[in-house]
């Protein structure tokens, strides 16, 4: 990709070959020097995963004696135990259903609301925007009791629908704002053009807006997935039956009241995090798809 940009650089035709080579060398050198701090940062971001994995393969005495050392005699016991005690098979399935449901719902709701708030002008727009944005600030800890009463009153206790709706409601502010800010950078002429072509606003939304919004939508989907998957309090409140709980609740209950079996916890964390890592690796290419398309075009 870098070479593409270089060959297309407007400087190229006017420069003498030697200068060009020197300039190119300098630019490349600069780029490669940048890689050093980035590499260090990347090392720190990946290290904890290695650390956790390393701990997960340790026996408990091994963990107490040599925390940071590389595990010499790895054991799979922790994974087996975590799988059993954290009821992983069942909980992974529950997490998958509630997270997938919420993320799909969120993608639809936030795209629609974000499009309206970012691209259309209507009366009360700022009020709606403010209303949705400040909802971000309400910590669940404090509204737990009225929220729980609401769930009970709506008969949503122990229901996947209840959990999905709650996940959605708690992530709408972030997702909508994200989509709105993205759409507001898109030229409004697009709307006018579609209108002239005779498309209804709904058709425009489906055929033009959604595809353009793909990078933001992918971002929204990834972040919502993480937020729902890692949420502890909502499933704790809403799912009050053992078989309905989610993976993060299962992991949280593995901690003892006083002492905690760290290798066991590390194994559970790895098992519970793997699905979201996969989701991210699959979705992340969508985020930059617009970008690669742009650079090829450029």
């Amino acid at each position: 990709m870098s070479t593409q940009v270089d060959s297309l650089s407007p400087l190229a035709p006017n420069s003498r070959p030697v200068d060009l080579r020197w300039a190119r060398f300098k630019r490349r050198l600069g780029r490669w020097l940048l890689v050093i701090p980035l590499g260090i940062l990347a090392f720190t971001t990946i290290y904890p995963l290695f650390f956790t994995a390393n701990v997960a393969f340790k026996t408990r005495p091994d963990w107490i004696m040599t925390r940071f050392a590389f595990t010499v005699q790895p054991t799979l016991d922790n994974f087996a135990k975590a799988w059993e005690y954290a009821n992983m098979a069942r909980y992974l399935f529950n997490s998958l259903i509630s997270t997938a449901g919420a993320v799909i719902l969120l993608s639809i709701i936030c795209s629609m609301a974000g499009f309206a708030l970012g691209m259309i002008r209507f009366r009360g727009q700022r009020l709606v925007f403010m209303f949705i944005t400040i909802a971000m600030m309400i910590p669940l800890q404090v509204i737990m009791v009225p929220f729980y009463r609401l769930i009970v009153d709506l008969d949503l206790l122990n229901s996947q629908i209840g959990l999905i709706l709650s996940f959605a409601a708690f992530n709408i502010p972030f997702g909508t704002y994200l989509m709105a800010s993205y759409y507001s950078t898109i030229p409004r002429e697009l709307l006018e053009a579609a209108k002239i072509d005779g498309a209804s606003i709904w058709q425009t939304f489906i055929r033009v807006i959604l595809p353009i919004g793909q990078p933001a939508l992918a971002t929204q989907a990834i972040l919502a997935t993480l937020s729902c998957w890692n949420n502890l309090l909502l499933p704790l409140l809403i799912m009050q039956k053992r078989d309905l709980r989610t993976v993060m609740v299962g992991i949280a209950t593995l901690r003892g009241e006083y002492a905690t079996d760290m290798p066991l916890l590390a194994a559970a964390i790895l098992l519970g995090t793997l699905p979201v890592i996969i989701v991210f690796l699959v979705f992340q290419t969508k985020i930059t798809q617009g970008m690669t398309a742009g650079s090829v075009k450029g």
Binding site: T45, L117, T133, L226, T288, G298
Partner: protein, 312 residues
């Protein structure tokens, strides 16, 4: 097609305006339909419980017995008597001073990835890894990494520096906490900015290059303005995160200590709810945080209004 609606009495003016609007500007009507699901869900699951929560802040509720109205007593105690709360506000202020770092670090990284620094695909994935882990898990890992005999000090030892007990001194606990939280958060910024950058025409960057702009100038004069809404979005959500999204880090990394050196308002909320049974008092703290955030959003909406006005 200016149809009249003879069946409607003249007094029902709003409805008439509405129906007329439907004919003239259908997109505006669609806009209401488009925001409706979001507004309804937020109204039901967020605002309705929150109003009750704000109501509690004027009571002495203990979570077990019925609440009694005590007026502004909670707020009086918070502002005039509670030394711990005062310390936590100072700590919060110190954290807010680091805001530029939170905003610009991911922006710079996103831009480097966007411009295709060697290995950008790898960095794009690597920088996001911390975000995959929940805050509590990140904090648990860093509790070990930052111990006096932890990995950070091991590495520092290699270059001959004797590192402090990062989480265990009043001078280093808050900076260490900020660093860990930033580490856990910046990946979100990178991804958000990358999505925002996808809308920017590559020509803009090329043009800046032709004009001889250096990297910093390009960042400030080309990148930031062209994705301004995204930057604003990320700023607002980051402020929200700093005001009330660091609980897990405080709870696991330092438990607010040593002393109160890393105590934040949301940690005091938890202490009052989870251990001291003062739910009314906890609600009062969260009401204060809510009002602070409301003011910030007001400023942001004003900014947005200016920008939209300027577009015309």
């Amino acid at each position: 097609m200016q149809t009249q609606f003879p069946g409607l009495p003249a007094a029902r003016k709003p409805l008439r305006t509405w129906l007329r609007m439907q004919q003239r500007e259908p997109e505006k009507l669609w806009a209401y339909l488009f925001v409706a699901p979001a507004v309804l869900l937020v109204l039901l699951f967020r605002f309705y419980p929150m109003l009750t929560g704000i109501g509690y802040s004027f009571t002495n509720w203990d979570g077990i017995n019925p609440p009694q109205f005590i007026g502004l007593a909670n707020f009086q105690e918070l502002f005039f008597k509670d030394l711990l709360f005062r310390t936590s506000l100072i700590n919060l202020f110190k954290i807010l001073l680091t805001l530029p770092l939170w905003i610009f670090l991911p922006l710079v990284l996103a831009l480097l990835i966007h411009q295709g620094v060697p290995g950008w695909r790898f960095f794009r994935a690597a920088f996001f890894f911390p975000t995959v882990l929940s805050a509590a898990i990140i904090a648990a890992i860093f509790t070990m990494v930052l111990r006096i005999d932890g990995a950070v000090n091991l590495f520092l030892g290699l270059v001959g520096i004797e590192g402090p007990d990062w989480l265990g001194t009043t001078q280093t606990s808050l900076p260490a906490l900020i660093a860990v939280a930033l580490w856990g958060q910046f990946g979100v910024g990178v991804v958000v900015y990358l999505a925002g950058l996808a809308t920017v025409e590559q020509d803009l960057f090329d043009a800046a290059k032709v004009d001889g702009a250096n990297w910093g100038q390009t960042l400030w004069y080309v990148t930031v303005p062209s994705i301004q809404p995204t930057v604003e979005f990320y700023t607002v959500t980051t402020i929200r995160n700093l005001l009330a999204g660091l609980f897990a880090f405080v709870f696991v990394l330092t438990a607010g200590g040593p002393g109160a050196s890393s105590t934040l308002p949301e940690y005091i909320i938890w202490l009052n709810m989870g251990s001291e049974n003062r739910l009314g008092y906890a609600s009062a703290i969260s009401t204060i945080l809510f009002v602070v955030f409301l003011l910030i959003v007001l400023v942001q909406v004003r900014l947005m209004g200016l920008r939209q006005g300027g577009d015309k």
